[in-house]
Symmetry: C2
Amino acid sequence: SGTPPDGVRAAPAAVLRFRGAGVGWAARGSPQTAGARRRASVPQKLAEALSSQYGLNVFVAGLLLLLAWAVHAAGVGKRDLLCLLTALMMLQLLWMLWYVGRSYAQRRLIRPKDTQAGARWLRGSITLFAFITIILGCLKVGYFVGFSECLSATEGVFPVTHAVHTLLQVYFLWGHAKDIILSFKTLERFGVIHSVFTNLLLWANSVLNESKHQLNEHKERLITLGFGNITIVLDDHTPQCNCTPPALCSTLSHGIYYLYPFNIEYQILASTMLYVLWKNIGRRVDSMPQQKMTCRFDGVLVGAALGLVVLAATIAVVGVYMIHIGCSKSQSESALTMFYLYAIILLLLMGTAGLVGCWIYRVDEKSLDESKNPARKLDVDLLVATASGSWLLSWGSILAIACAETRPSYTWYNLPYSILVIMEKYIQNLFIIESVHQEPDGIPEDIRTLRVVTVYSGEAATLAASGLGSQGVTGNGSSATNGNLCLQQASSKEDREAGWEGVEGTARHPSFLRSGTKRRLLRNITAFLFLCNISLWIPPAFGCRPEYDNGLEEVVFGFEPWIIAVNLAMPFSIFYRMHAAASLFEVYCKI
Amino acid sequence: SGTPPDGVRAAPAAVLRFRGAGVGWAARGSPQTAGARRRASVPQKLAEALSSQYGLNVFVAGLLLLLAWAVHAAGVGKRDLLCLLTALMMLQLLWMLWYVGRSYAQRRLIRPKDTQAGARWLRGSITLFAFITIILGCLKVGYFVGFSECLSATEGVFPVTHAVHTLLQVYFLWGHAKDIILSFKTLERFGVIHSVFTNLLLWANSVLNESKHQLNEHKERLITLGFGNITIVLDDHTPQCNCTPPALCSTLSHGIYYLYPFNIEYQILASTMLYVLWKNIGRRVDSMPQQKMTCRFDGVLVGAALGLVVLAATIAVVGVYMIHIGCSKSQSESALTMFYLYAIILLLLMGTAGLVGCWIYRVDEKSLDESKNPARKLDVDLLVATASGSWLLSWGSILAIACAETRPSYTWYNLPYSILVIMEKYIQNLFIIESVHQEPDGIPEDIRTLRVVTVYSGEAATLAASGLGSQGVTGNGSSATNGNLCLQQASSKEDREAGWEGVEGTARHPSFLRSGTKRRLLRNITAFLFLCNISLWIPPAFGCRPEYDNGLEEVVFGFEPWIIAVNLAMPFSIFYRMHAAASLFEVYCKI
């Protein structure tokens, strides 16, 4: 054992190279790509920091301009804002064209894909929202033509650019959302992060427009109800000239505000997909065979029927609410009472469904899949982070009820409503997190066996070979290895024993989930929650916001602070519902 | 090859068990712990979600109460706020006592530690800040005694509780910051996350008090300078009765505000350390031997001397600024001009130093260590996130200069200053990120070889054994394996070739960093940047805030919006400097 065998002498270099790449070798696409990567001079961490800091600066600068416009800063007009957004979109367009062109030129190369990113239903929903966004763009162009006398050209250029941007971006996401870019090219990193933050800025812009609109409507209602003690200044941006056919312009203007919620969802969905693409740059993926996800719609009659009833009822309630609110004091109060009672019942149902779902999983005691998966991690983080937005509002309501001096009877419903909102999101998040981390049942038996054999034989062989390796090393005088190897051996043995326990355990609980009843129950629960979340997305997105109309919080916190808090938190609260619905759809397909 | 050998048949159970544990087996402490973990019924992901959602709700509810107090919400007094904070601290105290007691009872068990968490210098600086926090508590008690006639008892109970809390928490962090909790006990997760958010709330409370104080001072200056067009309401919380020795009370009140910045740093440092503890719960650690980090202070005379000059100059500049600002219009302007000129020169120096540091690393072309490390990841994320706070303010200044109608001469200095702030933080972040990801040179040669041999022999053996495994599987009729294995073989071969290239590469650039000159240069740069960041922490922390006094942004954005933006972004900007200094200290010790 004086001289180590050839293989061992070759090893140091191999490992240095392995550590140097930083990313895995498992899914390397082609020799060319790998070669390019090896020669890249900027390490991954540094390239990430370079591009993310650039993106954050673009975002922060854009946000400042948005803020300046929102507070009517001296010298900042809508024109400047639209110019910046148009320029950013143009830049992204150029980059996307370059990327698509380059991909086409190199289409022969085999490139690794992240099979979990950009699921088909996600791309489907983004296409739907993009379609509505393009309609919105057409309405805006119509509006511009009507008021063309007194609007600056940017107001016409912006919607046209936005439409082109939307079309190309949807094409880009269909073709490249799953890409794993391994070449570490600076241009690619910067392009993707630029796209992420451009979409986020477009999102913030839409949210701001929508908030201004909602706030104006709220102020108009307050004027109708005769609240004189609040200084009300309408923040109206109607142009100062006449539209050629006046009826058309007012229709367009109304239509625009009904389409905004879809545009908002489109922008945020696009930025999350692009963010996953960015996180995937230079990532090592396991070349695990991905089973096709097929959504079957049988056996969920009860859940779907209940969900559809909820959907219909919500639309009815929102309709009644919008008609009655702001007409007179008593009508407003009855509309609020109706909404709160309805929401309390709905949230109770949803919370119960979520609890039952969690309980089924807990009974089953299946292990969770905790492998690395940027798309899933982002989904979970977004769920919790955006729920915080609505938790803020709910805690505000609770605090307001606790501190208010006079409490009209209808405001009491606000307390259970707010508590239930907090509880329901808490439970639903747990249910979704547990669901998306379940190992899919759909993996065919032979692939399972294969995976098992590969891992096991690898482990056994490592043992054998490390015995060999340690010979080589002990020749070099290091004795620490032996301890290390003993530990490995011991733990491996323990694994095997535990394995036998596991087999007995599985035998004792004969696969619980696969038994039809439990699975059908879970599918029904998921379908019901999916439709409920879609339903609960509608009220705040289309202007049914009891946080405004309730009045209690405004009295306690003051008009301005509460309005600012609501306008900052509400977009996240709305996004939560749509995002939860999307996650539940994924869960549904998985079960 | 009809029936697989015995080992293969045993495998499925072993693997199920392996996947089931979800966390690694490498660092399992003792059979007892492992057993407890295996029987834990709540999977890690779920336990994380359970506790983090609880923590977020506590935080959000506390923030709402802070907001309510800040905007003088009807019915919310300082008493309610202090009651909540005291209750949260009490709960944390109970939990810490329980944890410390249990750890003492189980002190015989070998528990894994995260050697990278809770570095000694970190615990040292937290002790220093905690000491000042306790002095602050004493001053507050003195203030309470002086005004005891008209202050509620909570104002006396709060500082006492806070002092006890601080003492125990520092003891706790000294003893347990490196713990890796493997038992997945719900109580532990909830306790740690409760501590994280309690400290964050205490931080927010201190920041709010400090901001109110700064804002009052600013308003007083504006009154002195005769700005009548802004409606100025002093937000003063001086009690309505007389203090027994009046001179004492005013001294105490002044002293309190000079100590707040240290208290703020203490709270945020404590919460980051606790957060790392929370992230480490149930984590798998590589049992890598950690070399002792020893900081030597030789050969950095130039960097340290330059840094100390900067420190002294900054204190002088801040002193002059504070005396001159608000006295008269011309004196204010000259103070601002002086500050901007000084800051521009300093930032230019720092930017250059950072660029040189980055260039040295780039020339060296060493690979980066990208292994998992929650403490480091948090550090890097915090650097970029908190820098965004000051980027927001800088972009605000740039926008204000671009849009302002009249620009007094001294405001022009604001433009290069703001641009340099953005650039300097961008460069400095890159330098720190690259530094903390460097593989430490200190690992002895034999451990390197050992690591190399272990990895390599494992890989080769996997190849051999997977050939064996595939025989068994092809017997079952699956042919996908062969492709997979070929890929593995191919990539492994490629690794080996690449490895040889790597060896040649290393030979060509003979270890650049270890050559004394480069290393000494890096150490000097780091020492200089460390002292510069400490210097730049002083001005905003002690009330030298040109963003207020400059006046330009207030005119463009309006008083209220700009003040809100500054008060939200400034705490992060201040924290950035202290955090960057801490990171640079770590880097210094590493080089």
